[in-house]
Amino acid sequence: MPASVLYVEDDANDAFFMQRAFNRLNHGDALRIVSDGLEALRVLESRSESDPPALLLLDVKLPSCGGIDILQWVRSRPAFAATAVAIMTSSTQTTDVELAARHGANAYLVKPSNAGTLEGVISALLDLCESGAPAASRLPVAGNRLP
């Protein structure tokens, strides 16, 4: 079980779905949700020395600071070299996928239209982190069919 997972998401419902998925996997305590991009950076900064998250889930569209920007910020800091980053989005536009990959994301998840299936997706993702997949691996895990 990963030490901690940080999810940056401004949509209250999507946040709810993620917490529900973690709860049903009995990992509810491992999840922390932050709803603002800049606040997320502050939290990450404060934890960079002592307690960097094992998994960072980033919604793409966020107020004040977007998911891709946070991704770039994290990837530029050696303190988070071991942190896996997954980009979460509603969009299946290939440009977003390429952009995420180019900036060093480990996975790209499309939010499933039915959040009931989120559990399975998250479970697979957590297994990946647990097996210690290095930050440089490129194994996309899709919630929906990728184009």
Binding site: N13, S90, P112, S113, A115, G116
Partner: protein
Amino acid sequence: MLPSVDSPDLLRSQNSALRAEIAELRARLAETEETLHAIRHGEVDAVVVDAPSGPQVYMLESAEGASNRLRGEALAHIDDAVIASDNDHRITFLNRAAERQYSVIATEMLGRLVDELYRQKWTQPADEGNANAALARGGFWQGEVEHHTNHGSTLCIDASFAVLRNPAGDPVGLLAVLRDITARKLAEQTLRQAKRHVEEANEKLEEKVAERTARLQETIAELESFSYSISHDMRAPLRAIQSFSTFLRDECHDHLPEDGKDYLRRIIAAAERMDRLIQDVLVYSRVARIDLPLAAVELDGFVQSLLESYPQFSTGDAKIEIAAPLGAVRANDTALTQCLANLLGNAIKFAPPGVPPEIRIWTEAQAGRVRLFVRDNGIGIPAKAHETIFGMFNQLDPRHGGTGIGLTVVRKAAERMGGRVSVDSTPGAGSTFCLELDAAGKGEA
């Protein structure tokens, strides 16, 4: 025999004959000398000569006279005005063209100043000096000048000036050959103007094109951001509706009356349908909007990998038969995938109830085009709907699910690849869809 001696009578007659002959010869000699004298003194104009064809008159003319006559005829016939003047700028000669060009009569102008014929203006201020220098140096100058005639007209003149000299080499005057190029200059100016107009029109046209292109690009960018926001913003609430309905159904199962469960079922179905609609509209929008570069596509490999990546086509009881070789077409991978996935999906979806779908795929090539046929054993389409099924949101029978956009996407994709799609079908006897595209060119595949 003794030598005969002529008798004194014979000698006397021989003597008088000789004397007569001498007298005649003298007379003829005198006549000849007289004639030669006359010829040498220019008193003879013509001589009658006995030619084989009969007597002919030969005219005698001085060389100078002949030369003058020839020159005079030449000058009379040329179109350029020729004016000769002496060192005092008085006109000594004016040809017929000069008379016409300056509206004068030669006899009236002889002895008058050249200035009385025209006022000469130089095109460049430096020309006057250059001309005089050239004339002084080499005796010749040629250039363009302007002549203002006494009759008020302004002529553009291509002028050649040559210094006239006597046999001793002293300058005795100036010879001017003046060609009226007014018409030509006017034509040149008109041509330049026309050219300018064309260039201006061209610029305006290019401006318009640039403007239109910019507007078009703006529209495309707007559509793109519109699609993007549909993708994110519209699907989020939909996600919430679907998800919470599912949670309600699963978690509150025991507390819900049958009606409640039914309502939830309908809510979930509607939300799913909405989601599919949005996705299909997005697909259509992309196919309509984005660049579709075309390249050669080998159909055999393409169809094979399509079947592999859409497992729903291979699992289940669907039987798909491909008549290889299918050949190669000029197409776009993404767009072609959309076309075939939709056509195959329909073929499976519209199989008669309880009957396993049977699909046959084959191609026909003709005149640089390739027709790809997809035949199914489905429920068929009535003739009157053969066109409307390709319309947006048109569904023959909504009970079969689907969004009514699938075939619209197929048609749009086909058109954007330079092809088209059509259907041949009878209700109860299956349908054959035909996708027609350009054959892959030589040297492309």
